[in-house]
Symmetry: none
Subunit: 226 residues, 2 copies
């Protein structure tokens, strides 16, 4: 038992790995290169360390093209990191306000991410209100979720008949969190456009949230979408 314990502790205790785990505290997924920059080491080295963390089931990887996105494998990880951080000398530990931390440099070309943010917030709200629950690589609709989607005029039975995935988490590259994809995600998007919650911007993938949408979001989720 203590051996096991000592192994996990050792795993977290390496300076580079500790930095990796620290960086992931904002629950976003980061690529190996980003983490290498953050931890100030080489790609090879970060690769080795990430491997160890994945093997020990502290992290999960998700491949997307030539990128690999890393994330905590389970919520206990975040809890443990926080518990460890609470041991720091008092003045130092003004908890994880990543705002005043040096943000990781994103190695990519950026455009407007409104769609991403809204998608992620929406998905998180659906989870929080337990209309959805997240499984391994899918979402499922709960009882209260069925009511909710029905109320919006979304026919779950029909969506389930489709050949494509019904409700799948897709990693958002700007937000680094999962948003709802699959048939259900598509249905939700078209419903929201039809109901005037959001509006496409011509000639662009960008989307605006209307005043009506903002109000609807507040009503449904008691959360401000902005």
């Amino acid at each position: 038992m203590q051996d096991q314990f000592s192994q996990v502790a050792t795993l977290i205790g390496d300076p580079v790995r500790a930095k990796i785990l620290w960086a992931l505290m904002d629950k976003r997924a980061y690529t190996a290169t980003e983490l290498a920059v953050y931890a100030d080491t080489t790609a090879q080295n970060i690769s080795m360390h990430l491997n160890k963390l994945v093997k020990a089931d502290l992290l999960t990887v998700e491949s997307q093209g030539r990128h690999k996105y890393y994330n905590y494998s389970r919520p206990e990880i975040a809890y443990a990191i926080e518990a460890l951080a609470s041991l720091l000398p008092k003045e130092e530990s003004k908890m994880i306000n990543t705002a005043d931390e040096k943000p990781i440099r994103f190695c990519r070309s950026c455009y407007d991410h409104l769609a991403g943010k809204v998608g992620v917030t929406l998905t998180e709200s659906l989870l929080k209100h337990e209309y959805l629950v997240k499984n391994d690589n899918s979402f499922s609709v709960t009882g209260s979720g069925e009511v909710w989607f029905d109320q919006l005029g979304i026919k779950l039975d029909e969506l389930k008949k489709q050949k494509r995935h019904f409700a799948k988490p897709c990693l958002d590259w700007s937000e680094r969190k999962h948003h709802l994809a699959g048939a259900l995600g598509a249905a939700l998007l078209s419903t929201m456009i039809a109901d005037g919650w959001i509006r496409r911007i011509a000639g662009s993938r960008a989307i605006t949230v209307t005043g009506k949408g903002e109000a609807a979001f507040l009503e449904h989720f008691k959360t401000d979408i902005r």
Copy 2:
């Protein structure tokens, strides 16, 4: 910030130091020699490691004649250890269903409060009966809870005066659920021992529930603790 974090993590991560910290989870103070035997190393080596832990304010020492007794410097250390232990690979922790591991999973002390299946069941019962409610990172006592604790002779006012956390959730490594820690958790444990509900097993963190304790639990919560 991450440097600080990485330093604490590194400190805990050494196999010998991890064993020291694990041994101290029963809130008993141990001498350097005892810890050396436990961690299977030499006096010189344990001395070096203990020094590092004391310097980092994870442990305190108390000299008594030619002996030195070591202990956690503060209860947060125990929370962090417990949280770290909850990261152990799941299958492995199930595998250790050996006879001598069973009692410690069932009921044990986590520093100064009750953990294991009994600790978690107790906490869940308190929540279910709404003597406690769970907040983000704390518990609070309800009106009926105040009556209940008072009935056991636990003086909430006095506990609140203490510098430490009043009632805090601590992640249980065997159950993977929260149990009650903080001043209230400590008071509850000592009351239960004083009232003969539970009994410490010498030389172990394991705790047994007495017949009286079983009956009391049934009476208070209408739930069988076994």
